[in-house]
């Protein structure tokens, strides 16, 4: 019973780290392969935050309940509040200068 609980914790941390690596690699591949700026913004916001949440949850599962996990929760909450603001500011910074025409058709993405 003594050795039972840490092994469960190690298993949860392992699963969370594997999902985090998958989402972060998909962020990098999506930043390279997507053809347009707004789709790159999609890859830069959602996949990145899913990877960040899973890596932080793995660290919390490895740590247990202490002051360190409270500090990790504070950093995670700060990241969850500020990253959508940064993405929104970048989208509006592009929208002021009209770099890309606003209406897309499906033929634009197939070339």
């Amino acid at each position: 019973m003594i050795d039972f609980l840490p092994s469960i914790r190690q298993l949860f941390a392992f699963v969370f780290f594997i999902t985090g690596i998958y989402f972060l690699l998909s962020t990098a591949v999506g930043l390279i392969r997507f053809p347009n700026l707004y789709t790159r913004l999609h890859a830069g916001s959602k996949c990145l935050m899913a990877g960040g949440i899973s890596v932080f949850m793995g660290c919390i599962a490895l740590e247990g309940i202490s002051f360190v996990s409270l500090k990790l929760i504070i950093i995670l909450a700060f990241l969850l509040i500020t990253n959508p603001i940064a993405i929104h500011v970048i989208a509006k910074f592009d929208n002021n200068y009209n770099l890309i025409p606003k209406v897309y058709t499906k033929e634009d993405f197939e070339k």
């Binding site: 990098a28 930043l31 700026l37 990877g51 940064a86 993405i87 910074f93």
Partner: protein, 83 residues
């Protein structure tokens, strides 16, 4: 633990291609934001590898500094004047 750090740094090097060859300026800004968040995760994981909890403060300060950088660049940086 170290394999996770290695995979995150490899994905950061892959994402640096978009900084190297972005057609316009907001492309590079998005790639810079992504690489910054990946480095923050590396700092958190390194504090678990060395088992010294003071390194979490470095991650917190770097997160605040990254957000201020993105806001200032989006406000003051302009498209260069042509003609």
């Amino acid at each position: 633990m170290l394999y996770v750090i290695l995979a995150i740094i490899l994905s950061a090097i892959l994402a640096f291609y978009r900084v190297f060859k972005g057609p316009s300026l907001p492309d590079r800004l998005v790639a810079m934001n992504s690489i910054g968040v990946m480095f923050l995760l590396v700092l958190v994981l390194l504090s678990y590898y060395f088992e010294r909890k003071i390194f979490l403060d470095v991650a917190l300060v770097y997160g605040i500094s990254l957000f201020i950088n993105v806001l200032i660049m989006a406000k003051y940086l302009k498209i260069p004047w042509k003609g």
